[in-house]
Structure formats: structure tokens, C-alpha cells
């Protein structure tokens, strides 16, 4: 019996040593973990939740596949920015969650995530006489069909900055002028200069394939030295199919229009905005091209990155479903104050336990220190993402951690009162308190499980999940420390001379 206890105590000490080494210092690298993982509410950062805009006929399987692709594409885009431990998750079949710790530029983050990155090439629509079609032609015409009937896709009209102004589509009822999101617009309210904007239609190869960013092999930022100064461009490389389609379009434009005519321009559209419309200078490009425009160095960098990471398989709804930004200033201060509160809480609980339960209270205090260190070590190793509520949950669990000890000690006192020896009182105290410890903790586990599940299913549930996890770990470890650590310490004590002085174990005095 004594030998088994000695073995236990050695194991407990080893575990304690390991846990202490893991935890201290807090930011040390242990078992491949460096420091505690802190939630967004502590270190600051951006939290975005977007909903996808799938076409109505998308099947569940397609959605699931596209969601995974979208996640990987967004990951690639964010990787370029050197954010440490970004979290990109899909939630359900239509939601994408992005958490960027330490990143505080919401606008940049939103662009990074939400920009679909859909690159397409367009040419100017021609009427039956071969002339360019303008918005005014459509507004003035009484017909209810496109001028170029061979192309039934939408027409985009842009303003002088290249932003889309009007979309023209056709359905069973005829032509329809809409805005970006497909809502009908009042063409009478358009500014006068809008009438002069060109009608851009999809650029297609001879077999009807539309030229899009899908055929890109590579994109890289380049600087070209022009007479007017350095010009920032993005050089692109087509794959074999893209090369053929591109050359068919270039050949057609080169031979069918004069240099300088809008009909010879190739419109480069990114997410429905015209970024530039260079003239075609040669009938064939053999797979190489550059995107020129009025770019700054960082813009070409971003554009190349966007083109390389690829287009999102589906657009995202414009206004984020949820958006949060937290300044990082709260974190350090909050953690320090939590540590103070935790230490003061532990000391008060220890004082209370020692005053009330004497020597056993002292042993429970040792177990409580063990508890604190072990829990922190587990937090660091899993790692548990610590949030405001999570830290609160941990400190709360300190108060609850002694509960199992209290249950056992109260039982022991009753047994001692009945005149049992200390050894017998310890064993029967533990045995008889067990059902209460088990049943009461299982209810807490049920609540933790539900909290975790709820936190996982709502958009800003990180704090809820953090709390559930810390409370769960806390209660589980407290059962372990009360049942293994305190019991072993008490058993060892029962073999020493102290065991006969029952006054050391209870403030209760036996009536003579």
C-alpha cells in the first residue's frame, strides 16, 4: 500500500515538473508550441464572415467542392501578407470565416477576401455596319434585341474610371438595364456622359470559348522603362488553350479595325471593372501578354497575386455577414489583470481551505497549485485559444476546482466524527463522495458540450467556445487532482504520526 502511494507521488511530481516546465516562461517554446494562443479579442485583429452567392441551381456537391476551393484560394491570397496563424474556415455550405490576428486594416482584409478575382477579356460590340455600339444606341433604339445577335451574353458599360455603370442583359421579356447586383435601374437618371460609353461584350475564340483568367498559367509584376518613366505592368502567361484563344481574338481584332479605333481594343475586366483597354499591336502573341494600366507598384503586386491565386469559384455577397475589428491594446493589460485576479483568487481560496479544513486544507491547496499549473500546460499544448471569456472561465474554475475536495473533506469529517481512524475516514470519504462528484460534474460537462456546439454554429462564437473548452478542461482536471493528488497526499499522511491528531484535520472538536 505504502509502496503504491510512493510510486503515485513520484509520478505526480514528475507530471507537475513537466507541466511547470511547459508553462514557464509563458512564451517559451515547449513541445513545438510557442506561447499561449490568444484569441482575436485579446491580440486584436480582423474577423470577417462572408456569405457566398451561389447560383440557385448549384447542387450540394458542387457547393461543397467550390467552398473548399474558395478556402484554398483565400488562404493563398492571405499567405502573401505574412499574417501569423490566420484562420480560414468554411461554416455550413455557404459561409466563409476569416480571422486575421494582428491585422487591423479591415478594408485591405475585405478586399483580399471578397474580391472574386474574376478576370475576363471583352471586345467592343459591333452593329450590322461594323461600327462600335455605344450606350446611346441602345437607349435610342426601339428594338428589343442586341445589335450583335451572335453574342447573347451581357453587355457592360463603364464610366471614365472603369467602374461598371450599367449592365444590359436579355431574358424572355427582352432587354433589361440593371446595376451590379441585377436590380433594374432607371436609365433616365444616368448622367449625360454615360451615353457615350462603349458596349463591351465577351471576347471569344473561333469555337466560342470565352477568354478568362482560367486559362492563365502565371502572372508577375514587371516594371517597363518607357520614355514617360517607369510603368508598372503585370505580365501574364497563357496555358496552351488560352494561347490559341487569345491569338484567334488578336488576329481578328488586328485585321478588322484600324489602329486607334475602339474596335481594336481588348478590354481587360476584373470583377466587372475595366482595368485597361490596350490596343492590339500584333496578330499573334504566342502565349505572352502584359496588362497595362495606370498602376502603382503595390497595385501591380496585388493584381499579380490575385490573378495567380485564381478566381473564387463563386462571388461573395458584398456586405459581410459579420465583421469585427479589435484593437490589440486590450490584450496585454487584460492578461496581466487576469493573472493578478487569478493569483489573488487562488491565495484567498487556499487561505479559506487551510482555515477551515486545517491540514487537509493545506494538502488541497497543494493540489490547487498543481491544478493551476496543469491546466495552463494543457491550454498551451492543445493549444486552447484563450479569449476574454476563456480566461474568465479558467479563473472561475479555480473556485470550482476545490469543490471535489470540499465534498470529500466534508465526508471525512463526518466519518471522523463517527470515531473512525483517519485511514478509514479517507477511504470512505472518497468512496462516498464519488457519486456526488460524478453526477454534479457530468451536468457541467453537458453544459460545456452544448456551449461548444453553439459557439461553433454562430458567427461570433469564438468567446463562447473558448469558455466552454476552458471550463471543461478545468472541471476534468479538478476531478483528477482531487481524486488522485489529494487522496495520495492524504494516504501518505495517514501513515505518519500526524494522523492521530484529528484536530489537524477538522476544526470540529469532539465532545467529551
Amino acid at each position: 500500500m505504502f509502496r503504491r502511494n510512493a510510486l503515485f507521488i513520484v509520478l505526480i511530481l514528475i507530471l507537475f515538473g513537466l507541466a511547470l516546465w511547459t508553462v514557464l516562461p509563458l512564451d517559451a517554446n515547449r513541445f513545438g508550441r510557442e506561447g499561449m494562443r490568444l484569441g482575436l479579442d485579446l491580440i486584436g485583429g480582423v474577423h470577417l464572415v462572408y456569405e457566398t452567392d451561389f447560383p440557385a441551381d448549384a447542387t450540394g456537391e458542387e457547393k461543397a467542392r467550390d467552398m473548399q476551393r474558395a478556402r484554398m484560394i483565400i488562404e493563398r491570397r492571405i499567405d502573401k501578407y505574412g499574417v501569423t496563424e490566420p484562420v480560414i474556415q468554411t461554416q455550413g455550405t455557404e459561409r466563409i470565416i476569416v480571422k486575421l490576428p494582428g491585422f487591423t486594416d479591415v478594408e485591405a482584409a475585405k478586399n483580399l477576401v471578397a474580391q472574386t478575382g474574376f478576370l475576363e477579356f471583352r471586345t467592343v460590340e459591333r452593329n450590322s455596319e461594323g461600327g462600335a455600339v455605344y450606350l446611346s444606341n441602345y437607349l435610342d433604339s426601339s428594338g428589343n434585341d442586341f445589335f450583335d445577335k451572335s453574342e447573347q451574353g451581357n453587355r457592360i458599360f463603364v464610366d471614365s474610371t472603369g467602374s461598371p455603370l450599367v449592365f444590359l442583359t436579355k431574358d424572355e421579356e427582352g432587354l433589361k438595364f440593371t446595376d451590379e447586383s441585377g436590380n433594374p435601374i432607371d436609365t433616365g437618371a444616368l448622367p449625360a456622359e454615360a451615353r457615350g460609353s462603349l458596349s463591351w461584350i465577351a471576347a471569344r475564340g473561333t469555337d466560342g470559348t470565352q477568354l478568362t483568367g482560367d486559362f492563365l498559367d502565371n502572372a508577375a509584376p514587371v516594371v517597363s522603362q518607357e520614355v514617360t518613366g517607369a510603368e508598372y505592368q503585370v505580365s501574364i502567361e497563357w496555358d496552351s488553350q488560352g494561347r490559341d484563344v487569345f491569338d484567334q481574338i488578336a488576329d481578328y481584332l488586328y485585321h478588322s479595325a484600324e489602329y486607334g479605333s475602339p474596335l481594336r481594343a481588348l478590354g481587360i475586366f476584373l470583377d466587372d471593372s475595366l482595368i485597361s483597354s490596350p490596343q492590339i499591336l500584333q496578330p499573334a502573341y504566342r502565349g505572352q501578354a502584359v496588362i497595362t494600366g495606370d498602376f502603382t507598384p503595390s497595385e501591380v503586386e496585388d493584381l499579380a497575386n490575385l490573378l495567380k491565386s485564381g478566381a473564387l469559384p463563386m462571388p461573395l455577397k458584398k456586405q459581410p455577414f459579420y465583421q469585427g475589428k479589435v484593437a490589440g491594446t486590450l490584450g496585454a493589460d487584460f492578461i496581466n489583470r487576469s493573472i493578478t485576479a487569478g493569483i489573488i483568487g487562488i491565495i484567498l481560496v487556499m487561505l479559506f481551505m487551510i482555515a477551515y479544513y486545517r491540514l487537509s486544507g493545506f494538502l488541497a491547496s497543494l493540489a490547487l497549485i498543481f491544478y493551476g499549473v496543469l491546466v495552463l500546460a494543457i491550454f498551451k499544448l492543445i493549444p486552447v485559444t484563450l479569449t476574454l471569456a476563456g480566461l474568465g472561465g479558467f479563473i472561475l474554475s479555480i473556485g470550482m476546482a476545490v469543490d471535489a475536495n470540499v465534498l470529500i473533506f466534508e465526508r471525512m469529517k463526518e466519518e471522523l466524527r463517527m470515531g473512525r481512524t483517519l485511514g478509514a475516514a479517507i477511504e470512505s470519504g472518497f468512496n462516498r463522495a464519488w457519486s456526488a462528484i460524478r453526477d454534479s460534474n457530468v451536468t457541467t460537462f453537458i453544459v460545456c458540450a452544448i456551449l461548444y456546439w453553439v459557439g461553433n454554429s454562430i458567427v461570433a462564437g469564438e468567446p463562447v467556445m473558448g469558455f466552454a473548452l476552458t471550463l471543461f478542461i478545468g472541471v476534468a482536471v479538478s476531478m483528477f487532482t482531487a481524486i488522485v493528488v489529494t487522496r495520495t497526499l492524504l494516504r501518505i499522511l495517514a501513515h505518519t504520526g500526524l494522523s492521530r491528531k484529528t484536530a489537524l484535520f477538522s476544526s470540529y472538536r469532539r465532545k467529551k
Binding site: Q323, A327, G345, M400, L407
Partner: protein, 310 residues
């Protein structure tokens, strides 16, 4: 030995009155919901150049076209104020306009936080929170009924434990409604987390007492159920009070040292621990006895003319 159960009607009366006040407050003030539940935008700003009062800010927000903006302030250790501005759902350009407008009036503004919750997200969060509390209650009811399956009426134990936790939730909601009415405190995710923690905590306490009742019934210590319940209660009283005390001590430490960021959470815990201790000692076991004896009409007869001796 104390006779706690003997005072059972008094406990019902006390709890009933507290809950009644809460319900009146809920009917009058309702609950102030945070944007997680009501949707909208929340902006946290600090003014770096000059001291701005809440009234000035409210006035300027009205000038900018947001008279309905709810403004709260939190004094930082530096003496500088932090302002929380809640509005309807803002688009990015509207937020920029507000910041530019405030900057023009009050000098440099630093944006500490900007949160935005769409109406769909808010509806979903509200639904999830309600489901969470309901599922937690059902889970506990099933577990407690199962744990006491060898008792004569296992369902009574589960139901009484649930009534005790509904009691604690109502008390916390009532007090928060008052806090919302007078001090503009909001119900946020931290509050819901706190409520669920309280639910777990309260049931934990109740189960310990029920466990002792179970043990004493199996040992057949007394033929009278009321006496058995009361003995069990008194035997576990030391434990109940000690655990509540140690938990309360650390939560108070949290309250005093950590401050406003998790204020809601901590205050719910304090209310919940006190209400939970009361309900597990005074309400849940009393309900068991009243239900067992079928004393409901005795309680209603007792009510109009309360006497000091039951």
C-alpha cells in the same frame, strides 16, 4: 438541527417576489440587446486631442444624421474616455463619413474597434442562444432523471433541478433588465455564456444535495420524506456554502481586478452563484417535498395570510 424545509413556503414567497419584480421590469424596460442579437454596427473610438463629453458626441452624431445612435463611454486608466457608438448597420463609406465628421469637430480620432452584424446573423445568433439554453435544460433533465432512476419518482428530481435553474435564469434576466433600464447594460454573448455557466453551476449544487437524499433514502434513515430531505440538506450545508464561498471569492477577484471588458459575464456569475446557492438549498429540495406531499393547495391557502410560524 436546523429545519430548513419547514420554511419552504417562505422561500417560495421570497423567490416569487424577486422574480415578480424582474418580470415587471422585463415588461417595462424589456432587455437591451447588443448588436449580436439586434444587428447593427458598433464603433469604439478614442479622441486623442481633446476631452469629449458624451453629450457633445451625441449632439455631433445627430448632426451627422444619426440621432438614434446609442453612445456609451468607458473611462480608461489613463483618464481618457473610450466611446462605444451603436448604430444601425453601417456600410464602410458611412463609417468613414462619421469618422471624418467627428475628426473635423473634435480632432484626431482613433478607431479601436468596428463590428458589424447583419440582421440575418443576429436572428441566427438569437435562435442559437435560445436553442442552447433549451437543449442544456433538456440534457440536464434527462441526465438527472437517469442518475436518480432507482428512486421512487426519478422525474421529480430532474424537474425540480430544472425549475431551480429556470429560477436562477429568471432572477439574472430580471436584474439585467433593471440594469438595462437604469444603466443601459446590454445582453450580449458574454451574458449568455454567463447564464449557461450559472445553469451548470446551479445544477451542480442541486445534484449534490439530491445525491445525499438518494443515499439517505437507500439507507432508509427516516420514514418521513420531509425529514430525510431536511437531514440531507443540513448534512451537505457545509459543502454547499463552502463551495459557493470559494467560487464567489474568485469571481469577486475577477470583478475587482479585470474590470469592464467582461463585466457582464462576471456580474451574471455573481448573481447566478447567489441565486443558485439559494435555489439549490431552499427551492429545489422544498419543491421535492411539496410535490411528494401534494401540498400545492396548502401553499396557495398559506399565501394570502402569511404567518410567522408555518
Amino acid at each position: 438541527m436546523f429545519d430548513v424545509i419547514n420554511k419552504r413556503f417562505w422561500f417560495f414567497l421570497i423567490s416569487g417576489l424577486i422574480i415578480l419584480i424582474g418580470i415587471i421590469s422585463l415588461a417595462t424596460f424589456g432587455l437591451k440587446l447588443s448588436i449580436e442579437f439586434s444587428s447593427g454596427s458598433r464603433l469604439r473610438l478614442t479622441f486623442d486631442e481633446q476631452q469629449v463629453t458624451q453629450e457633445q458626441l451625441q449632439q455631433e452624431m445627430a448632426n451627422l444624421g444619426y440621432p438614434e445612435a446609442i453612445i456609451e463611454t468607458e473611462l480608461l486608466a489613463t483618464g481618457q474616455g473610450d466611446f462605444f457608438i451603436r448604430t444601425r448597420e453601417l456600410f464602410e463609406n458611412e463609417k468613414d463619413e462619421i469618422e471624418a465628421g467627428l475628426e473635423a469637430k473634435f480632432g484626431k480620432v482613433t478607431e479601436q474597434e468596428f463590428g458589424h452584424v447583419s440582421p440575418e446573423a443576429a436572428t441566427e445568433t438569437t435562435r442559437s442562444a435560445a436553442i442552447a439554453i433549451a437543449v442544456a435544460a433538456i440534457g440536464i433533465l434527462l441526465y438527472v432523471t437517469w442518475a436518480f432512476r432507482r428512486m421512487p419518482k426519478p422525474f421529480h428530481y430532474g424537474t425540480c433541478a430544472i425549475i431551480a435553474l429556470i429560477h436562477d435564469t429568471l432572477v439574472a434576466l430580471g436584474i439585467f433588465s433593471l440594469l438595462g433600464g437604469f444603466l443601459n447594460w446590454q445582453i450580449d454573448l458574454m451574458f449568455i455564456t454567463g447564464i449557461l455557466a450559472v445553469i451548470g453551476y446551479s445544477v451542480n449544487n442541486t445534484v449534490v444535495i439530491f445525491d445525499r437524499i438518494r443515499e439517505n433514502l437507500l439507507l432508509n434513515t427516516s420514514a418521513d420524506f420531509e425529514i430525510t430531505v431536511n437531514n440531507s440538506l443540513v448534512e451537505t450545508l457545509g459543502r454547499s456554502l463552502n463551495t459557493s464561498l470559494t467560487t464567489l471569492v474568485v469571481v469577486l477577484a475577477l470583478f475587482l481586478f479585470v474590470g469592464v471588458s467582461i463585466q457582464n459575464f462576471v456580474v451574471v456569475l455573481i448573481i447566478g452563484i447567489i441565486a443558485g446557492t439559494f435555489s439549490s438549498i431552499c427551492i429545489a429540495p422544498s419543491l421535492l417535498v411539496v410535490w411528494d406531499k401534494g401540498e400545492w393547495d396548502k401553499f396557495t391557502r398559506w399565501l394570502p395570510l402569511p404567518r410567522s410560524k408555518a
